[in-house]
Amino acid sequence: MATEEQPIKKVEPGGLLADVALFYTQGYRLVHICCTRLADDSFELTYAFDKEFKLHNLRITVNRETEIPSITQVYGGAFLYENEINELFGVNIKGINLDFGGHLYKKKIAFPFSMKMAKVDATCLKGQ
């Protein structure tokens, strides 16, 4: 299968907004934001953009304390991605245009995707 080139540019959290704004001015649309928990309990956030079926990614690596600026001032529709990442992983995103304050999903425990599933199961059972 011919796989699609999907370049990833690594950026610092402080420089994220400038790069996102550049994609916006070039006419890219936001495809998705994906958060991945890494082995050292830090998080990798990948912002994917598309124009004419070409996918480009921006990537930042952060820990739970790092404050990340919301990109909703550039892409207004990003609020669902950011609320989801904030609630499931506990990543600290500031300035979301529609902030659900931790109530987008009805969860039994806080930040369930920030830990291994075995730990999620154990925590849930303990609470019963």
Binding site: M1, T3, V31, Y75, G76, G77, H103, L104, K107
Partner: protein, 359 residues
């Protein structure tokens, strides 16, 4: 300033097949603000990659949705095949394309029926679902299941079709198209349907694009966004054009779906003509190591299946971004300025699938 009232809409509501909640802020009967709320059925399927080996996770991902299950399976397989550089046999690519287009027929007929029902047009609902029944019966015969198929696997497909089946499918497609033509003519040409949908829930091309609309929601506003144009599976060898409308209202989105029914039938017919002989699966050895985002066109629009693997049998991360998830911000935009009575039709016009969204 007129008095403002907040009406909670959903999660249980007669027109909503699945639970989504909206706080509608009204001035008289006009919606001035809509605040969406999801999360009633979030299942955490993405995290199950920690417990299921990557070849068997395809069964989990198919259960994300009861309508576009086949395409979820296909896209997941494509993500793993993208990481592992698997060469899928051409016959399997055609079979995957046929399965995808039957799913689209089934999904579009289903939501058009729900839309008719939401407008109180019960007989039209029955007619559309009657046509859909023939499609899901065919899916059962050639894919192995009406709702969950389990046909796609990493490296190809599990189920082949023989020459007799191809002939059956060809002749049945003519019947399906005839039935669809008769019933969708009623939907598209009926005065009361047009009154309920024309000029309702409009979104401009610019707003649709910038807010992330995909699928018929984007194409109804003239955004030429159709992942099939990327040529995944066998789409690169098929002649078709994405269906576009420009009005951006409920009627335009519905018209896109209606025209896409016939595009899908045409794609299936082309596949049946061009499908080559040969194997239907490639042998896959080893474990994936790397990352890849597979993008496909589901009936509701672009879906992204992102997989990241570290060389073990279990993926490090798997994420699905479904079309409804990204169609919610455009929906909120459409609702502002609409009449309360039009809210159900506007919601149904984006074909919301909350099961997918909550994965």
């Amino acid at each position: 300033m007129p008095k403002r009232t907040v009406i909670p809409f959903g999660p249980q509501h007669p027109v909503l097949p699945e639970p989504v909640h909206l706080d509608l802020v009204l001035e008289d009967e006009k919606v001035v603000e809509a605040l969406p709320s999801i999360g009633y059925i979030h299942r955490g399927l993405e995290q199950l990659v920690e417990k299921r080996e990557f070849p068997e996770y395809v069964y989990v991902i198919e259960r994300t949705c009861g309508i576009c299950s086949f395409i979820h399976g296909l896209s997941y397989c494509q993500a793993i095949e993208g990481i592992m550089n698997v060469d899928v046999p051409e016959r399997a690519l055609y079979l995957r394309t046929i399965g995808s287009e039957y799913s689209r027929l089934h999904s579009h007929l289903l939501i058009l029926g729900c839309l008719a029902d939401g407008m109180g047009f019960e007989s039209l609902f029955m007619g559309l679902w009657k046509a859909r029944e023939r499609v899901v019966d065919r899916m059962e015969k050639c894919l192995g299941g009406r709702v969950i198929q389990g046909t796609c696997k990493i490296g190809g497909v599990r189920k082949d079709i023989d020459g007799e089946m191809v002939e059956e499918m060809r002749s049945e497609l003519t019947t399906i198209e005839k039935e669809m033509k008769e019933i969708t003519d009623v939907l598209i040409k009926d005065d009361s349907v047009q009154t309920r949908m024309k000029g309702i829930g409009s979104i401009s091309r610019k707003d649709a694009y910038e807010l992330g609309a995909v699928g018929p929601t984007a194409r109804g506003s003239g955004v030429p966004l159709d992942m099939r144009m990327r040529g995944y599976a066998a789409y690169g060898k098929i002649n078709f054009e994405p269906v576009l409308e420009s009005a951006g209202d409920c009627y335009a989105r519905t018209s896109v779906r209606v025209k896409e029914l016939f595009t899908s039938a045409n794609i299936i017919r082309q596949c049946l003509k061009k499908i080559p002989d040969g194997p239907i699966e490639a042998k896959v050895v080893g474990n994936p190591n790397g990352e890849y985002a597979s993008r496909v066109e589901q009936p509701r629009g672009e879906a992204v299946h992102y997989a990241k693997a570290d060389g073990t049998r279990f993926l490090q991360r798997f994420r699905v971004r479904t079309p409804t998830f990204t169609n919610i911000p455009p929906l909120v935009h459409m609702l502002k300025g609409s009449e309360l009575a039009d809210v159900p039709v506007i919601i149904l016009s984006i074909d919301p699938c909350i099961s997918c969204t909550e994965r």
